[in-house]
Amino acid sequence: MSETEILDIGELDQEAWQDYAIEQGWSDGLPLVMPTEASVARMVAAAHGDNEGFAPISPRQVIPTLQSLAANAVMAGAKAEYFPAILAGLRGILDPSYNLHGSMATTHSCAPMVMINGPLRQALGVNCGTNCFGQGWRANASIGRAIQLILLNVGGGRPGVMDRSTQGSPAKYAFCFGENEEESPWAPFHVRRGFAAEDSVVTVMSGEAPHNINDHGSTSAEGLMTTFAHTIAQPGANTIYGKGPYMVVVGPEHAATFARDGWGVDKLRDELWLRARVPLAHISDENLATYAATGHHPTGDFLTIARGPQDIHIAMAGGPGKHSAFIPSFGGTAVISTRVKLPA
């Protein structure tokens, strides 16, 4: 990592550029778009309106410039108009309660989960529906990837050095989706967090890749809750001792069933708090002793995987089908929502 902001790399063709970038350690393993001065300038111009400074990025602890952030966004394949959303996501990640340093240095598989709300989803073409966690949408792929590349290149979170994840996760390439506000029976996530409906908001959490919750058979909220609670109550969850938040992303068909039976988000969250608990019989004696030694004591015959209902965050995304998703967090982290600052 050179200390110079502008680098003269000579004349490189496409293949030579890829080799050069990989040699510098800039790549996530996939090809990168060259961050020429002109392409970076276009990206930076799109961020006018967001001129606050940034905190140092862990673990390397250096302060980024708008240019170095934009260079990563260009390399990720982002369009210039995505840049304000990338910056909003980064600001959330740099909030101390996100615990970036811990989430980068851990052996856990966490990655920055990025969820977008508000009108910007449609303006940018963020996929909120079918296959929303998957491939095929430039905005989802490159916004998520840009944030990862920033953490790699400015933050220094190099796998095997400062990123100590035991197995990593596909989510470490890119993990960005939008809430399916249009089909949700509930108020949008950002509105429930106090933002205006017309605000565009990026929410981040240091999370695992989504875990599927399949329930084709249940026809009631009560039935769905049985499946949801027991899928979520995992003895191997990080949050069984590193207590913290988790996300439940309800698919539209499951959401419709919950709503038809009168279950709002608060009810869903309260029931998950009461029911998504890990029975002590599912936990080894050695683990129980370890948890007790670090202050994590059972509640009755269970261990919880959150500190309270406030740790349980509900959103709605996806397309047709009887699937939802559980996104466990690293534990010592927070769910942080940041309004996107757009040019006036």
């Binding site: 602890q61 240095a105 190099r158 095997g160 400062m162 100590r164």
Partner: protein
């Protein structure tokens, strides 16, 4: 204050990279990985390694 970091070999690159980022020359005692998940007999070997490293720091 003098700080001596006791880490397993797996975490040595992290400690060194962190120290470099902070321009610190770390006092580092490296033991074999892992420490977690070991029984008392296995842990005793790690304690010996860690103690030997701390003794070296004392004598340095």
């Amino acid at each position: 204050m003098v700080g001596v970091v006791i880490a397993t070999e797996t975490f040595k690159p992290l400690v060194l990279a962190q120290a470099k980022a902070r321009k610190v020359d770390p006092h580092l005692v490296v033991v074999k990985h892992p420490v977690g998940g070991l029984n008392a007999e296995e842990l005793a070997v790690r304690i010996e390694e860690a103690y030997a490293g701390v003794l070296k720091e004392m004598e340095a």
